[in-house]
Symmetry: C2
Subunit: 324 residues, 2 copies
């Protein structure tokens, strides 16, 4: 990040016509945006939402109440403009790109084999990497993939400990039997790939998915290009988590848009030290939460850039303590 920009933003922030600190997290967001954009006045002219879609071999284990065919159907729905993310991206003033991974061929069932071999994993990471354009002011990442709360839970468990029961939840609508089946499936996967403990990228390859590997690649590319990133919900956060295990500063260019209704997301966010901006009971994915946070960032940038200073507006400043 550009520390000179961060310093200039903090200096200007203190002169704006409001009690110091009274815009709370908006002030932090303005400083964060500007530091990564390298601008004293953060701009959000080019906001991009990228949704990666992928299928999961583990769906054969009955971990989702939805058929795997829904992934392709939802990709078509994104293209036709009929999904939630189409509406929310429009409200956010953001462009939307949908990237179907590997023609939506499923990963291997990770209870019996690594989800991806080395070549496929690296190809998926590269697809995500290439989806990030340098001329982007803000990147919102998200995913679509039937079965991917199971992959996210397995990856989170492998990184932060705990069993399937600790990380499995209803996802897109599993009942209690379904959640128990997810938990057992995750436990089987954790046992199968226990040999990779301590190797975050190997865990992402064995327990993740194509769309999750692409998110990892996109977060990495955004860091290289100094593009600030808004993460979506549980799957997106789990997909990015290996980067933090590799580098304690590895997600400093990201903010977490929201806390999902999926309980594991709050747990994972605490492990990552990410404080969600919103908490609205969302559990959809598609970058819906990430796009929903964009207007907060727009407000932060607009206040920082557009407000008058005390001097410009001839507003009296706070008295120092004891003065009357």
């Amino acid at each position: 990040p550009d520390e000179a920009a961060r310093y200039a933003i903090a200096a200007r922030e203190a002169t704006l016509t409001k009690p110091p600190g009274s815009l709370g997290r908006l002030e932090e967001l303005a400083a964060w945006l500007g530091a990564w954009q390298g601008r004293e006045r953060p701009a959000l002219d080019r906001v991009r939402v990228v949704v990666f879609a992928g299928n999961h071999g583990v769906v054969a284990r009955g971990v989702s109440p939805w058929p795997a065919s829904v992934t392709a159907q939802m990709v078509a729905n994104f293209a036709a403009g009929g999904a939630a993310i189409n509406q929310i991206a429009r409200v956010a003033g953001a462009g939307l790109t949908v990237v179907p991974m590997m023609d939506l061929a499923p990963t291997a069932d990770f209870t019996v084999a690594p989800a991806m071999d080395q070549d496929a994993f690296l190809a998926a990471v590269a697809t995500g990497h290439d989806a990030v354009e340098a001329e982007t002011d803000l990147l919102c990442l998200g995913e679509m993939g039937i079965g991917n709360t199971t992959a996210a839970a397995a990856l989170a468990a492998s990184l932060y400990g705990g069993s399937g029961a600790d990380w499995a939840g209803p996802g897109a609508g599993s009942d209690a039997d379904g959640v128990a089946r997810k938990a057992r499936t995750i436990d089987a996967a954790l046992a199968r790939h226990a040999g990779h403990a301590g190797d975050p990228l190997a865990l992402a390859r064995c327990l993740g998915g194509y769309e999750m590997a692409a998110i990892l690649g996109a977060v990495l590319a955004a860091r290289q290009k100094r593009v600030p990133v808004v993460l979506d919900g549980f799957i997106c956060t789990a997909a990015a988590a290996p980067l933090l295990r590799l580098n304690p500063d590895g997600l400093a260019h990201t903010v977490l848009s929201h806390r999902s209704a999926e309980a594991a997301h709050g747990v994972l966010a605490r492990h990552l030290g990410l404080e969600p901006l919103l908490n609205l009971g969302l559990r959809l994915g598609e970058a819906s939460g990430a796009a929903l946070a964009v207007p907060l960032l727009r407000a932060a940038a607009a206040c920082h850039g557009g407000m008058a200073t005390f001097a410009e507006a001839e507003v009296s400043e706070k008295k120092v303590s004891g003065e009357t």
Copy 2:
């Protein structure tokens, strides 16, 4: 509210291409908007932010580190477009109206007399009432007034019990001595007007302020005109609270935009049964939190109105439990 519209919205919501309930509070917001607008497809074409500004005689007691002259200076800043609310309202796509109350003459010091006499209180309520146009899709209310966290704390304490120390906080930047002075001032006011316990409007008159009475009038007018309302922070919420004491359903047409950094706001919100949409550490007022919530409502309305149904998009629905 229009229960037929609410029913139609719920019926359509269940057909949209997402897991049922996966948009969390956005689904509730769409139903709430539509029910009060009387529309099956809620619209947000005419969103209005109204900020009432008033001065407070109690400022003479040293309850604010800011001089009372800042109220007028900030009204000028609103007119010039330099305040936070100007920027946030623009991001929200909302029009902004600022109403200076009583030429910004202060109320009486409520430690020695009622803040307002009957005529002045009713005139302020009427000003707020008249500020609400029927042709409004959504109304965001807020305030500006040096010293008004003291008035809000006094009014909240008089309605819900507790002492000054329970409800006083740093407001726009008081230090510990200042907060203690506020608490003592509130205790004096509560003792002075204890005879009105159980009469919410008399408490609003004795312990509130002109801008708070106007908010009360505006919330009332919005109910009559079936205009949904977004409440801002502590002062705005306290100003509306008497309506809930008069009628347990009296704030059903409102949502609470955010939870302020002022601790008393969270306490008051729980008393009122209002769940804030945002929690970003704001403590500015000016309807800044209310306007910040508008894009969430826009997203809710856009998803409800714009998403494809499962049938339209030819997306498979969730399998019933036990089906494979």
